[in-house]
Symmetry: C2
Subunit: 314 residues, 2 copies
């Protein structure tokens, strides 16, 4: 059995895999090699390099392990038709992402960018624009594994959390729950609006002009899910017309964000280059899930950890 | 009865005081006026403007309400001899200070300064130096109201907390407790060392060269208590010799930190200009405590909220 990694992990991590599975043939190769692909039963990928053509070449392929969360760049229809099992590393993002979201919120509230600018000028001033997170209300779009972890941490800071998903069904660490259809009303009572929604037909351009108009002009808006939650033009207008106070963005409709894009220069926008889930421990954790799943696979168990429903996109 | 404020609060806050106590004569005056001081029974001060001479002029003075935490600039001996009651606003710092400490830690761990620098260059790079807070060990020097609040939040992030005070007696939200005398040993197992200790004879230059030598070279050191915890030279040496990875400082032996001081330029030092307790809600909260205490005082009750032992310095 051949397992094809379309990336090349750190030597110590590769060594761990080889030792645990001495009978399996592993190929580590940073580019897609058609000859290898043709023979592979399992492909381990970051999810951005597999096209429709690759899936048809990979005629023995039965399981794709995606070492990331998003599968929107994968040929979902072809994969579903072939009945190829897809699993991802959902859950391992939760810690670094929630820490990044909290880092950005606290930095904004406690005036860290002001402190860093003072430091550059060697300027001792004690007039920061510092407010508190405590007592705020946060609306969390997408209270799944990551969103609930953000909710848990926000609650520890004395924040009232409102979760928002399609159904409005209760989610962990949310003081209140609403559904997408009642979103408009909740926006006017929120100080922070955070999205960690995936990209699905139901979330694409979910936020429209009227949603930003409904927000407080002091609102901090954060998109850490997917860039197509809101059209760039709608967001630009909301910021230019001061309908909200600030946006912290980790994802964009076009990535990389072009260097000429106004977001880079706008003082009411913080641009993060889609790095909020990055962590020095990321791949280590991904491969732990992979190894557990590979053991199941070898025993004929296809109910893998984080098995996805490719037709639904999550 | 005369109550002398040596600062001038916002009009709405003054109005609230005047309405609640119509029979009391309040004087709000940003500079110390000797004639007013002579007649005042109560002085409300930020604690940095009262010298020995002022206390002797204030012959009717019975209560000093300090709208800050530190009293090290006050003439403690004279105040104690006269039996003047001193109270402060301990406790109101806990929320903004703990939020600032967490903001700085998370910014450091999640690479926010790197993100902000990228943004200035309009540079899309996805190679941040981001690590995680989760799973770290933090040593908290001074686990009182503020230190315990920091401990509570760190625990929510999956951090192992070690408290350190003079006695080694248990404090809230600390997984382990040690005393000053066993500090050396705990340093080598800590990833983050945070001090929120006040300035007392027992804490002055508590940290010596050997303590920094005992820390991991990856340690993040934070002083958010008082600048005299460690001599500037000792700290400079530890940083220059890479005995620790980074220092985030809010307090200094000399404040303001002179603009020529090397700390401003050192890439392994973050200079915060003693603002970690600042909050737009600071004075509002201070005056709530003051009003409650003034009611007690008028009823002859001198067991005020946050009454201090001036001889001990806290």
């Amino acid at each position: 059995m051949k397992v094809y990694f379309t990336f090349d992990p750190r030597p110590d991590l590769k060594e761990g895999i080889l030792q645990d599975f001495p009978t399996i043939e592993f190929i580590f190769h940073e580019k897609i090699d058609h000859a290898v692909l043709k023979e592979a039963e399992v492909v381990v990928t970051y999810g951005e390099d597999l096209g429709e053509q690759h899936v048809s070449i990979a005629e023995k392929l039965k399981w794709i392990m995606v070492a990331s969360a998003g599968i929107e760049k994968m040929p979902q229809k072809e994969i579903a038709e072939r009945g190829i099992v897809v699993s991802n590393v959902r859950g391992i993002h939760k810690i670094p992402m929630a820490e990044s979201v909290l880092a950005h919120i606290l930095s904004y509230k406690r005036g860290l960018t002001w402190i860093y600018e003072q430091e550059k000028k060697a300027g001792w001033s004690r007039k920061p624009k510092a407010t508190e997170l405590h007592g705020s209300t946060a609306l969390i779009l997408g209270p799944g594994a990551i969103g609930s972890e953000i909710g848990r941490l926000l609650q520890a800071f004395g924040v009232h959390t409102i979760g928002c998903n399609r159904s409005g069904h209760q989610a962990d660490y949310m003081d209140d729950m609403i559904s997408f259809s009642t979103l408009q009303k909740a926006l006017s009572s929120s100080d922070i609006v955070i999205s960690v929604l995936p990209s699905t037909p139901g979330t694409r351009h979910l936020l429209q002009s009227e949603h930003f108009e409904a927000m407080k002009d002091t609102t901090l808006f954060m998109n850490f899910g997917r860039g197509d939650l809101v059209s760039t033009d709608v967001l630009m207008d909301a910021l230019n017309e001061d309908e909200i106070a600030h946006a912290i963005l980790d994802v964009y409709e076009e990535e990389p964000l072009p260097s000429s894009h106004p977001f880079w220069q706008m003082t009411n926008v913080t641009v993060s280059p889609h790095v909020s889930s990055h962590s020095s421990r990321y791949l280590e954790r991904s491969l732990e899930i992979f190894k557990t799943n590979l053991k199941k696979w070898l025993e004929g168990d296809t109910e893998l950890i984080n098995k996805m429903d490719i037709t639904k996109g999550y």
